[in-house]
Subunit: 405 residues, 2 copies
């Protein structure tokens, strides 16, 4: 019972076919192959100010992922495509590319299985279980929602795919677009986990001196540390306000980076909703109730953050409509365990790679233990209020249960 199984629910790749497509493009998003420093650079945003971020085989070579998993004692990874997803393509291309990506993701998992099976003492059954993937839906402007629904059906029928990655733009109008109704209905029906992940960040259009990030050189810190979790919070809130979880209470949404900025703002959100005539009578429950319906990765890098998120998930039942106001439990009580059960370990590999003293990336990494991984492991271990069983859940058993691994 107490053996630790470690599942990484937040780990990215690009498929080789997608990399080729990005190399062939002449406008962003694209991969520049002729950077001064000899590396390939992926430029995502239309107005990318830096030259883009360095990409290499760590993003597409399955041997790299397997080595990373073995080095960090990760038993199972559920890989997902990294951004950009498919909304830069026109509708027919997006549909074709989603098919190709899902086939390639399935192949990636097979290739991993072969590598694992060839390892010392590995059983074939165990090997086949170690690499899973989120598929991708053709979410781009002009795509018929029926195509999206159909892609969910093929993902569900694909042995290694156990959910789908989800950006925040939907079919171009965001996730509160009524056209997406059949997509939520199908995902809920199939029990597929949708992994909501930030895509563009917030504030990228704010490069003027008076903009959100200003004009000082802070590298990628502000858009990455703040802009990403802002985007996640906004997208999740828009889903809640659109009543998606009232109509689809069984929808399984896994929210990246421990829910981004939303958990700490959720009582403020509830107060704003209660005081706004446009929204106050729209939802079945207090907005805080819906935070208890979501799943969260444990990619927050600190124990106090994780504890806060679990407490905020765990209190959700207090905010179910018709519930008599229950007192706040001393030391969290049962609600702590309820909250923790919806959280699961992730690494965000291959982002946050190890660096030298001066901050430059160690690109020939094959042996390093990644600080970003140990930080997230220690954060889980260090939450004072969590039982050992709760921690084992976050390390892996919650994901095993959610994804049926």
């Amino acid at each position: 019972m107490s053996k630790r199984i470690l599942v990484d629910c937040h780990t990215h790749i690009y498929t080789k076919r997608l990399v080729s497509l990005l190399r062939s493009r002449t406008v962003n998003p694209r991969i520049h192959t002729n950077s001064p420093d000899g590396t390939e650079k992926l430029a995502i945003l239309p107005q990318e100010v830096s030259g883009g971020r360095t990409v290499g085989p760590q993003y597409w070579d399955v041997r790299n992922k397997v080595s990373f998993m073995n080095r960090h004692a990760i038993d199972i990874s559920i890989v997902s495509l990294a951004n950009p997803w498919l909304d830069f393509l026109d509708a027919p291309q997006a549909v074709t590319s989603a098919h190709e990506c899902n086939a390639d993701l399935e192949q990636y998992c097979s290739d991993a299985t072969e590598l694992f099976a060839s390892g010392k003492g590995a059983s074939e059954v165990e090997a086949a279980r170690r690499m899973k993937a989120f598929g991708i839906m053709p979410l781009a402007q002009g795509v018929d929602p029926k195509e999206v629904v159909s892609s969910l059906e093929s993902i569900a029928a694909s042995p290694s795919l156990c959910g789908a990655i989800l950006g925040s733009r939907g079919l171009g109008k965001g996730l509160d677009d009524p056209e997406l109704e059949p997509v939520w209905a199908k995902a809920a029906e199939l029990g597929l986990v949708l992994f909501l992940h930030p895509h563009y960040g917030v504030g990228a259009d704010a490069s003027q001196p008076s903009g959100l990030w200003g004009s000082q050189d802070n590298g990628h810190v502000l858009p990455l540390a703040l802009g990403f979790p802002f985007e996640t919070a906004a997208a999740t809130t828009r889903l809640i306000l659109a009543g998606v979880f009232d109509r689809h209470p069984n929808l399984r949404l896994l929210v990246a980076h421990s829910g981004g900025a939303l958990p700490i703002l959720s009582s403020r959100l509830a107060s704003c909703v209660a005081h706004d005539p446009h929204v106050c009578n729209r939802l079945q429950h207090d907005p805080r109730y819906y935070l208890g319906k979501l799943y969260y990765d444990a990619v927050a890098y600190g124990p106090e953050e994780l504890e806060a998120v679990a407490n905020i998930i765990g209190r959700a039942e207090r905010y179910r409509s018709g519930t008599a106001a229950a007192p706040v439990a001393k030391n969290g009580g049962d609600s702590v365990e309820v909250g923790v059960q919806r959280m699961m370990f992730g690494t965000d590999h291959p982002f946050f790679p190890p660096t030298k003293q001066d901050g430059t990336v160690i690109t020939d990494d094959q042996t390093e233990t990644w600080r970003s991984v140990t930080e997230n492991l220690e954060a889980i271990s260090d939450v004072p209020a969590w039982s050992q069983a709760a921690k084992l859940g976050v390390f892996g058993q919650n994901a095993v249960k959610l994804f049926g691994l």
Copy 2:
């Protein structure tokens, strides 16, 4: 010792002179006096989509504030101007207007003292202590920083002013503008509290369907619940990254809405800083250390949020450079008390007024107990991990100490 004193450190007004100025303007920000529903409407943003928010005497009539305070047993209020502040004016106007506002704020406090003194059983000494104010600095594009420094000196010499409100734009380039150095130095030298408050929010330029807030009608919920705390988090982070707290460790910054989105993202921020060659060797300490140097209002509407913020403030010493990695204290330990001492009650009056069942504002309010106030009071009372003494601190004694009331 155990008598509760209640201090409201987050409560807004407009001065009558500022209201006249806003009424006289023909571009935003301005007050529309001819709305269809007969109320005056303040439109702040250049591209305000709604007609603006209803304003009335609750924003400028001191009798309204006094009635509100008496009704909610608030012993002391430290009022601050609500946005827009003065950056819509040209430089000479901003300087003049700051002088006028500070004189008017001083008068507002005197008027309140008279009202309090005429109340039943009030002593004059007590009455004089009950209304204080944050002054305002002439922060607008083109203003000489010397003028800002000089306004801090007159604020410090003004008997009822005990700090200054601070938006996020500074002199037009944000708070990480090196030109603001003498301002931070002077504020630290004078021991004045700067109250960092969001001004424009984030995402206001995102009204297209694919923008941050999308095109569904969610009233003001998204910019208010999320956009404001996003702005606060970005502004505070930029101050930290600019090294302001390394150079001015005694600067007293009170951050609105319990730090907005920053506390829950602070370990993510630390990880992004550690992994970015542009920033990783710039600061004296891990970014989380600086969150322990700030002060926070307790305007977060929920006990779990407040507890999280206190824990995150309280852990700061773990991240002081040169500190041997200390284990995370069981149940928070002393660090809980350390964190709580930097938090203080606020109401955000006259925002979040009571509403009818359908969400419309009760405009003739003279007798209602405000839900937004009781929520913030109960949130403090309900934090399981806080001692009674800690709660009394948050209700008022922390503010008494910080502001020397």
